[in-house]
């Protein structure tokens, strides 16, 4: 995989299994984000392929996208929309959503107080929490999270760890790029080191 005129990823093989968390580690610029974007189908690898449930993802992009939830560097939130509207529109594209489910997700990430504030007036940490609420609401079996702990306070980190643990308990898979190994209750992370 090339970024600009630099070869960043070569000869990498990664597996995600149900109920398993994979921690992608590596120094800055080692290609963690690139790898996750390839796995999410946002980038096309030069060689090799991404196989999901026995089928290459390029065969049916939409079906694959529907099974994954991606959280990138940017939170993917509309600054003009309130927290509630952001979830209603973004998650609504994927599945039917009741107002109660949105309230519950906002409560889980501790945003009940600010659910009617426009996202632009939320702090970076609060926006991250809102993005996590979105990931959780999609109910996708595969989570691809790029530095999900950025900007979160310790309570936020704890909540996110709980949310991930619950996802893994339910048989979901998670690929997480992070500098610190995520400490998720009851689950050990498989580690992939990009050096």
């Amino acid at each position: 995989m090339w970024r600009g005129d630099r070869h960043v990823l070569r000869g990498i093989s990664i597996d995600a299994a149900a109920g398993q968390m994979t921690h992608v580690a590596g120094p800055n610029g080692s290609g963690k984000t690139t790898l996750l974007r390839v796995l999410a189908g946002l980038l096309t690898p030069e060689q090799g392929s991404v196989i999901w449930q026995g089928r290459p993802i390029a065969a049916d992009r939409e079906a694959y996208s529907a099974t994954l939830s991606y959280l990138g560097h940017s939170d993917g939130l509309k600054p003009e929309f309130t927290a509630r509207e952001n979830l209603a529109f973004e998650v609504g594209l994927r599945r039917k959503l009741e107002a109660a489910a949105i309230d519950e997700a906002l409560e889980r990430v501790g945003l009940t107080q600010s659910c009617d504030q426009p996202a632009r007036s939320l702090s970076a940490g609060q926006r991250r929490r809102l993005a996590i609420a979105r990931v959780q609401l999609t109910r996708a079996p595969l989570w691809i999270l790029d530095e999900p702990f950025t900007n979160l306070d310790s309570a936020g980190v704890q909540r996110l760890s709980d949310v991930i643990a619950e996802h893994l308990d339910a048989g979901g898979a998670a690929l997480i790029a992070a500098h610190q190994p995520p400490s998720v209750p009851r689950h050990a992370a498989h580690r992939l080191n990009l050096a």
């Binding site: 990138g72 560097h73 509309k78 529109f89 994927r94």
Partner: protein
């Protein structure tokens, strides 16, 4: 997992973009104000004589509408690209071409439709007889639709560029020339009391062609720009 039917997703996307647009009133109003300003420049600079203005009315209305519609195009995908919601859209599991149609339709509703609605007023100001107003509205309705579709391709292609707006105009304007020729001609013919069916039907055919091919091109361009 994706159990929102595609039609609902398109409707949701359309509504989302309309709500977003109405929270930026200034941006929505810009093209209409620009359209009105440019058309009033002509009587000021050429001659206030209605007979003379009438000769130019078709071309003036069309060129002004074309430039006004270009103004709004840059914002079509830019904000979504910047805040990461474009990525989420690509990964929503919905057919991207359909979401592109929804976004294009919303863009036309806030940028193209107002131009069509004020056009009779501006046309009267340029001395267009009331019998010809119907042709003005019809030709601009079809024309702004064509421009939204073509412009969406240009906007999606120039998304990754830092200063894409100039390139966007250079890409879109040549493609819009056939529409300009027939659109301005339709108004001209209506002013002279001729039957305008021919050019209007041609414009309609162009719109159908643009609406059929543009969503696929936009979807492909968005995927490239998101990389």
């Amino acid at each position: 997992m994706s159990n929102t039917p595609a039609a609902d997703a398109v409707w949701l996307m359309y509504r989302r973009d309309l709500v977003l647009a109405f929270r930026h009133w200034d941006q929505v109003a810009q093209p209409v104000v620009f359209f009105a300003m440019v058309t009033t420049l002509f009587p000021l600079s050429l001659s206030p004589e209605l007979g003379e203005l009438r000769q130019l009315a078709g071309g003036v209305l069309w060129v002004a509408a074309l430039l006004a519609a270009l103004l709004g195009l840059e914002f079509l995908f830019r904000a979504d690209h910047a805040d990461g919601s474009l990525e989420q859209m690509l990964l929503s599991g919905q057919p991207l071409a359909l979401l592109a149609i929804a976004k294009g339709a919303a863009h036309w509703t806030v940028c193209g439709l107002p131009l069509v609605l004020v056009s009779p007023l501006l046309a009267i100001g340029l001395g267009v007889p009331t019998d010809a107003l119907c042709a003005v509205v019809l030709s601009l309705a079809l024309g702004t639709g064509i421009l939204s579709a073509l412009g969406a391709i240009g906007a999606a292609l120039t998304l990754g560029l830092r200063r894409g707006s100039m390139l966007l105009s250079l890409l879109v304007l040549p493609l819009a020339m056939p529409a300009l020729i027939f659109g301005a001609r339709a108004i001209d013919m209506a002013i002279h009391g001729d039957v305008t069916r021919g050019p209007l039907l041609l414009l309609g055919a162009m719109l159908v062609l643009a609406l059929t091919l543009a969503p696929l091109a936009v979807a492909a361009a968005l995927r490239i720009s998101a990389e």
